[in-house]
Amino acid sequence: MRKISKRSAIVLGAAGVVAVAGVAYAAWSSSGAGTGSVSSTTSVNSAITPASSGSVLYPGGGTDFTVSIDNPNAYPVVVTSISAGSSNVVNGCAAGTVTSAVPASTTGTIAAHGTGTYTLHATMNSDAADACKGQTFVLPLTATLASNAS
């Protein structure tokens, strides 16, 4: 039998080392697996309440008034819009005698469980009836809010 040359022996030996090293790496690695879940929170509607009534109105006149909007959620929100308002019937004074326009902007963030104040402008119709004297007008409003969490 022919003897293996020194150079061939070195090549075979190196190949053996490489193979063994590869096995060692494969044997000591592992994988993991599992399942879980995440849930989103819900949202709670805010309430709009009168904050200040402004000055008294007269036919054709106007005044600024403010409303408070609360945030009962555990995350900050922004008010993206507040609707126009139109007064309810009150003691013979016709509905719509006092109106408020959509505010041009509703800037600011309401903190979690906080409250924000927003200024609106109300006007009384120029043809308001005498029944509208000395009345307090209620204007239903709606607002839309969005999460401002980051």
């Binding site: 039998m1 040359s5 053996g16 690695s29 993991g32 879980g36 995440v38 949202s43």
Partner: protein
Amino acid sequence: MSRWRSGVPAGALAVVALTWFAIGPAPVANTANGNGIKQFGIADVPGRATALVPGAAGPQWIRLTNAENFPILVQTVTAAVGKPVDSRGQPVPACPASSVRVDALARPVTVAGNGTADVALTTHLLPGTPDACRSVTFPLTYTGTAVKP
């Protein structure tokens, strides 16, 4: 005689044969203690769930469980987000799974032998998520890799 045409002696054949048998057990490395590492577990940590809010990030705590009697170094963990379901387990088609993103494990974590390690993955509910995504649950499928340090 050319030196490069020399025959392979019996000793060299033995080396090749042993190497083959050494490679053989590798596919069962996940179950054979000594030749490999058992698959480690990844699960949510009970009682540490975070309710996601649009535009915000929160921790998703997971527990890595090592069934081996030696430490392992968990190098990667990722989570695939599935389609959400509501509180009754019904699908919510209007809420896409892409509303949630879970970041990969930020850095390797060592888990003691026969031990556990709790780590947090950062989870995001993306801004502008539809209202349909309120009070829904997104299933997660975790996968990871580890080595013996």
